[in-house]
């Protein structure tokens, strides 16, 4: 039978944990806080519309004879191949929804801690700066993974299920790895991007504006550069353009621009590296006690 105790302060008899994922409580709290926002829940549900449409597409592609009366000439458009997965994972809508969800649920990840001086509470505990960053990164990676990796793997499995054979898998044995690699790449990139933005200001609204402004300004700069130089390499200036180029490379389809995809991978990787260096410096400068 449980001990009945008076209210008040009691010493704890147990042993404090010395090993294990220290960052997980931070990630869990971040995810919980994101879901506390009503608009977030609605947008989160909305962001699965493409996944549902693509799932219907996979089903229809296997039942073309049944749907002939509805989908005339769908044989060409409804081909489930690496390009199908590339389209799903690099469509503008998915990127937009990632930005929108992270603007709502991720903008305050570091900004709010700076604003409400919560960082000193974290670092006064047995927590390193890396643990803190991993905890915050986990929140972004979780949502990006839910919008990219999970639906893409499910679409892949649905294709196998509806076709009733492993032919698709044997035709493209590398495809599952490509899905995992590109989704992981998106998780890393958006994590760095959102955390960098969130660490630049204490004002959550400013961070939200920054997240969208940098993303779409890079697209505008690409457009202007292309008009001036008429060079396909202008695409290296655009975040969206680079993400789509990398997707084309990873899924072995023809890229939209005649630029080697590894250059886009390099540009985005350098961006992530610089973001991590900045974050490390920013957190190293945090004064826990003044």
């Amino acid at each position: 039978m449980a001990e009945v105790r008076e209210k008040g302060y009691h010493h704890w008899e147990g042993q404090l944990r010395e090993k294990g994922p220290v960052f997980w409580p931070i990630t869990r709290t971040g995810i919980k806080l994101a879901f506390q926002r009503k608009r977030f829940k609605f947008l989160f549900a909305l962001s699965f519309i493409p996944a549902i449409s693509f799932a219907v597409g996979v089903y229809v592609s296997e039942r073309l004879e049944d749907f002939k009366f509805m989908a005339q000439g769908a044989e060409k458009t409804l081909q489930v191949n690496p390009g199908f997965f590339k389209t799903y994972l690099s469509q503008d809508f998915i990127f937009f929804m990632i930005l929108l969800l992270m603007a709502l649920g991720g903008a305050g990840l570091i900004a709010d801690d700076f604003r409400h001086k919560a960082i000193q509470l974290y670092f006064a505990r047995p927590l390193t700066r890396l643990d803190y960053l991993l905890g915050k990164a986990g929140v972004v990676a979780f949502f990006v993974g839910l919008l990219t990796l999970v639906p893409a793997v499910v679409l892949f499995l649905l294709k196998l299920l509806f076709s009733g054979s492993f032919k698709f898998f044997l035709d493209y044995p590398w495809l599952l790895l490509s899905i995992i690699f590109y989704s992981a790449f998106l998780m890393v990139f958006f994590t760095c991007y959102i955390l960098l933005a969130s660490s630049l200001s204490k004002n959550r609204n400013f961070v939200i504006a920054l997240i969208f402004a940098v993303y779409y300004l890079s697209e505008i700069v690409r457009g202007i550069s292309y008009v001036i130089f008429r060079s396909p390499y202008s695409t290296l200036l655009s975040i969206m353009g680079n993400l789509q180029q990398v997707a084309a490379g990873v899924f072995q389809v023809r890229p939209a621009q005649d630029v080697p995809w590894y250059l886009s991978l390099l540009v985005l990787s350098v961006f992530c590296l610089l973001a991590l260096i900045f974050l490390r410096r920013k957190l190293r400068g945090v004064e826990v006690i003044r």
């Binding site: 209210k7 010493h11 704890w12 931070i26 709010d112 801690d113 409400h116 000193q120 006064a124």
Partner: protein, 303 residues
């Protein structure tokens, strides 16, 4: 000993922040006093393992301040001066999160969070968002998060700042109880000398990066100076001048009460001899109680 530091040196570039600090702090409550820029914060940072001393050795709760910072922070509770919280969380979730980050298992952290919130007087409002708390409630919450993992040592930084007199009294009572009956050692850094005098039995006064005084408050008061209160008749100028030349501090209150602070080992008969020489009649002579404020002013060298 909960804290033992030996010959700690630390510099920010050319500026020496700590210059050969050695101290040992045992149980109970200890006050950390010093003017701005004296080195208090640097000392706490070193004790929590945020800064590595350039020279010297130190142990907090038996763990080395150079190599075992994580172990120190696991056993230490820290209550910052600033108003700090995680927006969007209720008090119990916030406190449990802090417990979990200190190493408590999740369920145990939640259980302890409920307990300490009741203990600090936030039991009824523990499901309210911390954003909606008043300053006093936030102060209690900071104490709760510092206590949740059952620390062996508490660092309290200005725990009564931004509190009204009632709130201040309540939080001081809590800290006093934690220090006296819960077997948790407390290091209290505060500018409010009355708080330290009320809670702590020991004090460390730090000035210009060096320990100016350290020990039991009562002992220090006796050791560093004596205060005598006199009622006199006659011209004070010569009397005052002579005593000041002998190293005393002489103050006269509005109601003509003369306070004389004498240096250690000062023979009080010299006061009477000086009075006689200057034609001053001593009508009342009381050996008075000195305050921590007087002690602080004396060892730091300010009025």
């Amino acid at each position: 000993m909960s804290i033992e530091l030996q010959n700690i040196h630390y510099s920010y570039g050319q500026v020496k922040a700590l210059n050969g600090v050695s101290l040992s702090i045992g149980g109970g409550a200890t006050g950390l006093l010093g003017p701005n820029g004296a080195g208090k914060s640097t000392l706490i940072k070193i004790m929590l393992g945020f800064l590595t001393p350039a020279e010297g050795q130190g142990k907090v709760l038996g763990y080395d301040v150079r190599n075992e910072q994580k172990f120190i922070r696991r056993l230490v509770g820290y209550m910052p001066e600033d108003e700090c919280f995680i927006p969007g969380l209720d008090a119990v979730t916030f406190t449990a999160l802090m417990g979990e980050l200190s190493g408590l298992p999740r369920q145990e952290a939640m259980k302890r969070a409920h307990e300490v919130l009741f203990y600090v007087g936030l039991g009824e409002s523990r499901y309210r968002l911390v954003d909606t708390y008043s300053s006093g409630m936030k102060q209690r919450l900071k104490l709760a998060q510092a206590l949740v993992h059952d620390p062996k040592l508490l660092f309290l930084d200005e725990p009564t700042s931004s509190l009204d007199p009632t709130g201040r009294q309540e939080i001081l009572e809590l800290i006093g109880e934690v220090a006296s009956s819960k077997d948790i050692r407390v290091l209290l850094s505060s500018h409010i000398l009355a708080d330290i005098e009320l809670i702590c039995d020991r004090v460390v006064i730090i000035n210009k990066g060096e320990i100016a005084a350290s020990g039991r408050i009562e002992d220090l008061k006796m050791k560093n100076y004596q205060l005598y209160e006199l009622r006199v008749k006659g011209q004070l100028n010569g009397f005052r001048q002579e005593l000041e030349q002998a190293g005393c501090r002489v103050e006269e209150t509005e109601d003509r009460l003369v306070k004389i602070y004498t240096p250690p080992d000062f023979d009080r008969r010299r006061i009477f001899q000086s009075a006689a020489r200057n034609g001053v009649q001593v009508r009342q002579f009381v050996c008075s109680q000195t305050s921590l404020e007087d002690l602080f002013a004396r060892v730091v060298g300010v009025d």
